[in-house]
């Protein structure tokens, strides 16, 4: 300990203070409230998305019709 002079101690104290300040900054830093925009590559496929939705809607209708047909066949067995 005798070899550590005052300047080294002051330097260490300054470093500790800086680290504490950095931690406080990180803790209380708030990101901007607004959402960031969608990247361009996801914006360019609108047409595909709309077609896919249309396909999905038609598939559900087909599945529903088949489901009820099968159900009706079983109900008739009662």
């Amino acid at each position: 300990m005798k070899n550590i002079d005052k300047k080294t101690i002051y330097s260490l104290i300054i470093i500790v203070v800086i680290i504490v300040l950095a931690i406080v900054l990180v803790k209380y830093y708030k990101k901007p409230a607004e959402q960031k925009p969608i990247p361009n590559d996801t914006v360019t496929n609108i047409e595909t998305d709309v077609s896919y939705v249309d396909y999905g809607v038609n598939s559900i209708n087909t599945y529903t019709d088949n489901g009820f047909k099968s159900l009706d066949a079983d109900i008739e067995k009662l």
Binding site: A22, I46, V50, V57, S59
Partner: protein
Amino acid sequence: MEKYKNIKYVSLIALGMIISFNTAYAASGIDDKPNAVRPYTEFENNFGKQLSATAEINAKKTEVFQKNLLKIKDTAKKDTINSINDRIQSLNKEITNAYRLTYIVMSQTVSNIESRMNKSQTSGVDVSSVTPSLEKAKASLTDLSGAILKQASNTYTINITDVSSLKSQTKSVRNTLEKDLNILKDKTKITNDSLQELEKSIFKILGKETTNTKVESTNTTIKK
């Protein structure tokens, strides 16, 4: 060498500052990649909560159903009615889930179109002609999300009072399910139409024509 006697202290402080501010910068998220907007997050949360609540009600109703099932002495009939009850419930669950997934894609698509519209506006394009279509699509989406959440809260259990009315009771539950699912079907169609109208109007102002690419529907099985 006398003028360099403080260099180790200066180096120590500089090193400390670099480490501290690097940590602060990394944790601040300033340099994060932009996240995609997920307009359906709230809907998904509500849907999950609704499913949990419905599962509890359904479990109680199934318990009553199983007790009432003992009234039926014919084993074959008992098995059939049990199977029909299960299938009515799974049909509701699967189809509601399929509408949920379609809603998510629709919702994201509208969000993408809105983003493209905003981008065009920034570039000086007059997008005012698209606004009514966009508002209409958003309104139909809101309506659809409410209907899907309501459907997720519905339970369907055959009420076994006596053996003679078994068929009519089962048909009644089946018809109620069909009627309820038709509400979703109609609302989904309205939303799908408004989406296509929106697509046409946004492409019109962007100077791009739709190619009317349709993916043909086939007898697709929806996995559980």
